[in-house]
């Protein structure tokens, strides 16, 4: 019961999605299942919120090291939730002005939009920007031109990096027109269009075959490892 019912739910739901792509009569079934999937995923956020609250409250109650940060996390979580669910500062939709709740949540003037603009965007984009330093530093330490493969990787990275900067244009700008293909900016484009395309295409084809095979194993009930508790039994 504990393993049989989930397996059949997965098989029925999966084949319904699969058939919806092939039979026009079942096309709407695929859309409905897709909507149900989105709703369950949205309800799953409640699970995430419960987990977040539990972990942080435990940290606070035990007075673990850095418990003050757990307080900040919870305050920010609750504050964002309140202003978002309450649509605080949001004006009604001009087409339905009689309904105060009809306005978009992400509009100019809404507190939720303020949080997005002045907290979420700066922090996430700066964190990604920070990766520039760490990637460069890791590459400097790890990349060694020891064999042909490593040399190819290094040289390509160097050409692509330089080819997309002004320095690259200046460095090889002196090359005559008949050798313009060797200019770094053109080399970079050629690498991206030819070698990168070929490599990526093979990777994508490999991934597609892998995903299709794994999905089929799940739909046929061969692979039950997703249920946990020890493999395919």
């Amino acid at each position: 019961m504990k393993r049989l019912v989930p397996m059949w739910i997965a098989i029925i739901a999966g084949f319904a999605m699969l058939f919806s792509a092939f039979f026009p009569a079942t096309e709407s079934l695929g859309e409905i299942f897709g909507d149900a999937f989105n709703v369950i995923a949205a309800i799953a956020f409640v699970l995430g919120a419960g987990s977040l609250a539990k972990v942080n409250l435990e940290k606070i109650s035990r007075k673990d090291q850095g418990w003050g940060y757990a307080v900040i996390t919870l305050i920010c979580f609750v504050a964002t939730l309140v202003v978002g669910l309450g649509k605080i500062g949001a004006h009604p939709n001009p087409n339905f002005a009689a309904l105060p709740w009809s306005g978009e949540i992400q509009q100019e003037g809404a507190v939720f939009q303020w949080i997005y603009e002045f907290a979420l965007v700066p922090i996430t984009s700066t964190m990604f920007a920070l990766l520039a330093f760490f990637v460069a530093s890791a590459a400097f330490r790890a990349f060694r031109a020891k064999n042909v493969e490593a040399i190819l990787l290094l040289v390509t990275a160097f050409i692509v990096l330089l080819g997309r900067t002004f320095a690259g244009v200046v460095l090889t700008g002196w090359l005559p027109d008949w050798a313009s293909g060797l200019r770094l900016e053109n080399l970079s484009v050629y690498i991206m269009q030819v070698f990168n395309t070929a490599g990526n295409r093979a990777i994508i084809i490999g991934i597609a075959l892998g995903v299709a095979a794994t999905s089929l194993r799940i739909l046929l009930g061969v692979d039950r490892s997703w249920m946990g508790g020890g493999g395919d039994k």
């Binding site: 699969l18 919120a49 964002t80 949540i105 920007a129 990168n196 490599g199 990777i203 994508i204």
Partner: protein
């Protein structure tokens, strides 16, 4: 984490420099907004028994500082373009967050950990709020209680069919079962919604990956190995033809060699081994290009953050000409 004396000194120095900058020239880090009065007549609704009324509010749009200066110069008593406390505080908070994250380049510190705690809480709630307003309300509540949703938040909601209503009831039950994961004894039943999610994902992925990746990429690889290129007169151009043909040959050969490398059912010896080796070279070039591309993307983001600090916050540069007046006044002040 205890604040060391070094950090306190650095913070005080930075604060002092910002203070000096704030009172030099045209100042820094201020945001101005322009008001627009919105007034909408709401007709009477006989069905609901409501009388005709008028809904009014003021919308505020951000404007460059030069617009404020121009408006002030024209009429000092004007109230249309004004200083925005809310946005200015937001700008300073964003600047603090940006600097706090960058401070991690030196080492872990309280400012970074504070910002990290903020983003964990905010992003979790952000995803939850969007999930509620964009999925739960229109899809779930819209199907189960359409009249309530239409009269509350979405008057334009289209009527849902009975199949949709049944599916949403099903989704609600599965969603509630998913929450059983938090229960110590009923956790096993949360496997049912998980099974639904896995089944739907598997069914969707087979179709989408085979259609858009496997077939589309394979079809795109069938290129003519001799690609004729013509010039303006319509005659075959020799060198462009050679380069285009070479590019096609390299792409086809590269895909075949990489796939040979991925094929482990045959031992990589002889011709297969040589093909696989060429495939590895292609893959190394691909990884190198991906690395270069990723670094460039991150550097572009870094440039955007630095531009935010120097342009929007410190008002030290003005590439978009947002504060022509301030820049000039700062120069004359120096």
């Amino acid at each position: 984490m205890k604040l060391s004396r070094g950090w306190i000194v650095v913070s005080l120095v930075v604060a002092a420099l910002i203070g000096v900058r704030a009172f030099t020239g045209g100042g820094m880090g201020r945001v101005y907004v322009k008001s627009e009065a919105v007034s909408i007549d709401v007709p009477a609704d006989a069905a609901k028994g409501t009388a005709a009324t008028k809904v009014e509010w003021t919308a505020w749009a951000q404007v460059p500082p030069r617009v404020y200066k121009a408006a002030e110069a024209t009429n000092p008593a004007q109230t249309e373009v004004v200083f925005s406390w809310g946005r200015t505080i937001g700008l300073w908070i964003a600047a603090f967050f940006t600097l706090a994250i960058f401070s991690f380049l030196y080492r872990d510190n309280p400012a970074y950990r504070f910002t990290e705690a903020v983003i964990v809480g905010v992003s979790a709630a952000y995803a939850m709020v969007l999930g509620f307003w964009e999925t739960v309300v229109p899809k779930l509540l819209g199907a189960l209680t359409p009249d309530f949703v239409k009269g509350w938040v979405l008057p334009s909601l289209s009527d849902q069919g009975p199949a949709q209503v049944v599916a949403m009831c099903f989704a609600l039950v599965l969603g509630v079962l998913l929450l059983m994961r938090l229960s110590p004894k009923g956790g096993w039943i949360s496997m049912w919604p998980l099974a639904f999610i896995i089944g739907v994902t598997a069914g969707l992925k087979i179709v989408s990956h085979v259609e858009s990746d496997l077939i589309a990429q394979s079809v795109a690889t069938f290129k003519p190995l001799v690609a004729f290129k013509t010039d303006a007169t319509g005659a075959v151009a020799a060198w462009p033809t050679v380069w285009a043909s070479l590019a096609n040959i390299l792409v086809v050969a590269g895909v075949l060699c990489c796939l040979t490398y991925f094929f482990f059912s045959v031992e990589h010896k002889g011709l297969v081994g040589k093909g696989a080796r060429v495939g590895i070279w292609y893959l190394m070039i691909t990884f190198g290009a991906a690395f270069g591309f990723t670094v460039m993307g991150r550097v572009a983001l870094l440039a955007a953050r630095v531009e935010f600090l120097f342009d929007d916050w410190l008002w030290l540069i003005d590439p978009a000409g947002k504060r022509v007046v301030e820049t000039m006044s700062m120069l004359t002040a120096w």
